[in-house]
């Protein structure tokens, strides 16, 4: 039996982020904390953001979930660190478009590792796993405003 189709979902770089998550842990008390869960499956994330002068100074996450949700959280925190809030939000928009099957390369932005999650769009049942951390980030930025 061939797992070619699955390999587009479980790319090496995703598994690397799952096994060795970046930015996992808590931030200082003065940071912004957002809890988000996926009520249909039990995945939960706690995202810690430190936003100063419209810039994401630091981002960390804690939580439990499947390889897709945790690797996406790891990649997201990596991607938004040091970016302006507007840049973070536009990355989030690109990501959600990517989940809807749009090709992110047309946007001429270097997505780095995030691009590896493109295959999730072919597994509709897993899209919510991938977007959980991004939704949390959007919510946090929204609350900050």
């Amino acid at each position: 039996m061939s797992f070619d189709n699955l390999d587009t979902l479980y790319r090496q770089v995703i598994m690397d982020h799952y096994k060795n998550p970046r930015n996992r842990g808590a931030l200082d008390n003065d940071s912004l904390t957002i809890d988000m869960n996926n009520p249909t499956c039990g995945d939960r994330i706690q995202l810690h953001l430190q936003i100063e002068d419209g810039k994401v100074e630091d981002a960390k996450f804690e939580g439990e979930g499947c390889s897709i949700s945790l690797s996406s959280a790891s990649m997201m925190t990596q991607a938004i660190k040091g970016k302006s809030v507007d840049e973070a939000l536009s990355l989030s928009k690109i990501f959600s478009d990517m989940m809807l099957g749009e090709n992110p390369n047309e946007d001429d932005i270097d997505l780095g590792d995030i691009e590896a999650l493109q295959g999730v769009s072919k597994f509709p049942a897993r899209i919510k796993c991938a977007t959980l951390a991004w939704k949390a980030m959007e919510k946090g930025i929204d609350e900050q405003k």
């Binding site: 039996m1 479980y10 039990g42 995945d43 979930g65 499947c66």
Partner: protein
């Protein structure tokens, strides 16, 4: 019983998923529907569709006869005394909520207790949480044995003379535990409490006799027993149902309507406000005919054999954890090593196998098990040993796949 023959009556099972024959192991979430049920719905809409209890015309009479005929089928199937005790609802959730609103909230006071278990599905927890909050009553849980069963001693200890309602599932949708609801009902009654049984996972799989159980309320869903979605049943003892007020007010459930006051129809219609779930009830009636022809004892024996075989085979997979007791209904909830159940379910799906992954609407039980999620394979009358073998092979491949990428 020949499951291979029975399968032929379920058109949906004859298809490929991701290039493999569909192995449907998610019947505890919802069962598939036999052609007899699909035809009954088709026929009703093509020939008899009309509103019930109103029309003088022929179609109205036909629809009413079929709708009320379905009620009689349900009565007979669970051995209730009278069709007055069979209330059609949207499903188990609505049935339990009807009791929580119309009985619990109307009778409970501060100091009273509602007793449930940690095994319960959210639909048999939250209505009681809310009723307790609204009335000042206390919600109590019967502790569980390490294998996910209940001991009658603990039941005796937890239910006191302050207990007014005991609500419990007959069969666990996660662990497959079969609860001693008949004995629990006795203990409840001894203490002056009423007993509600959530039969969503029992009625589809075993013969249920509500008079023998002597429970006061019994709730179940049509869609888990080969019937359509959107139809369920609340059974209740007549004296209780009679004293209860309707939850929904409007058409269909009234007797006389005056400007400032109205009176209700008699049982069971006072609980069926609005145009009822006519097609759903007729479909459920067809499902009951289908199941009865095979025989519930036969179905139970088939599933028992299947789950026993599945447990034996699955235990051979290294790193696979099975949750729940040895003696169980036809389902196996498990985790495969460190593979998250979502990931396992996706890889199984790529091999044509449908299992459930997640918390199974039982978050308190997941906490008790100390896991965030699990995978579940659940069996029904159309599943075969060959499908169990396919599951076991696929699980081994899933493990291998993640072994490679991890």
């Amino acid at each position: 019983m020949d499951a291979k023959e029975i399968r032929k009556q379920f058109p949906i099972l004859d298809q490929e998923i991701n290039g493999n024959p569909l192995v449907y192991l998610d019947s505890a979430a919802t069962s598939q529907k036999p052609i007899q049920v699909i035809k009954a719905l088709d026929e009703y809409y093509k020939q008899d569709n009309s509103n019930v209890h109103r029309g003088v015309h022929t179609l109205g009479t036909r629809a009413t006869d079929k709708y009320e005929g379905a009620r009689e089928k349900v009565r007979n199937f669970i051995n209730a005394e009278s069709t007055k005790q069979i209330i059609f609802t949207r499903g188990t959730t609505t049935a339990i909520n009807t009791v929580a609103y119309s009985y619990a909230r109307a009778t409970l006071q501060e100091g009273d207790e509602i007793v449930i278990t940690t095994l319960e599905h959210h639909s048999n927890i939250i209505p009681w949480q809310q009723a307790a909050k609204a009335t000042g009553a206390t919600l109590k849980y019967i502790p569980m044995q390490p294998d996910g069963t209940l001991s009658l001693e603990d039941v005796e200890q937890t239910i006191t003379e302050n207990t007014k309602i005991v609500a419990m599932m007959q069969v666990s949708n996660v662990l497959g535990t079969i609860n001693p609801v008949k004995e629990v009902a006795k203990i409840a009654h001894k203490n002056g409490a009423v007993m509600l049984v959530d039969g969503a996972q029992a009625v589809p799989h075993m013969a249920v006799d509500v008079q023998d159980l002597d429970c006061d309320f019994y709730a179940f869903s049509g869609h888990k027993m080969c019937g359509p979605t959107g139809i369920g049943v609340l059974y209740g003892k007549k004296e209780l149902l009679e004293q209860m007020e309707p939850v929904e007010f409007g058409g269909e459930m009234i007797d006389f309507v005056n400007l400032y006051d109205s009176t209700w129809k008699e049982l069971p219609w006072k609980f069926e406000g609005g145009t009822p779930i006519i097609a759903g009830a007729i479909g459920l009636g067809a499902a009951i005919d289908f199941l009865s022809e095979i025989g519930m004892e036969t179905i139970e024996a088939h599933e028992h054999k299947l789950v026993k075989y599945a447990m034996e085979q699955m235990k051979k997979i290294e790193g696979l954890t099975i949750y729940g007791p040895e003696n169980r209904a036809g389902l196996v909830t498990f985790n495969l090593d460190t593979v998250h159940p979502h990931d396992a379910a996706t890889v199984l799906d790529s091999q044509g196998i449908a299992v459930r992954a997640g918390h199974h609407c039982a978050q308190p039980l997941m906490k008790w098990l100390d896991v965030t999620a699990t995978a579940r394979a659940s069996f029904y009358l159309y599943n075969t040993e060959q499908e169990v073998d396919q599951l076991v092979t696929a699980l081994a491949k899933t493990k291998e796949y993640f072994g490679d990428v991890f």
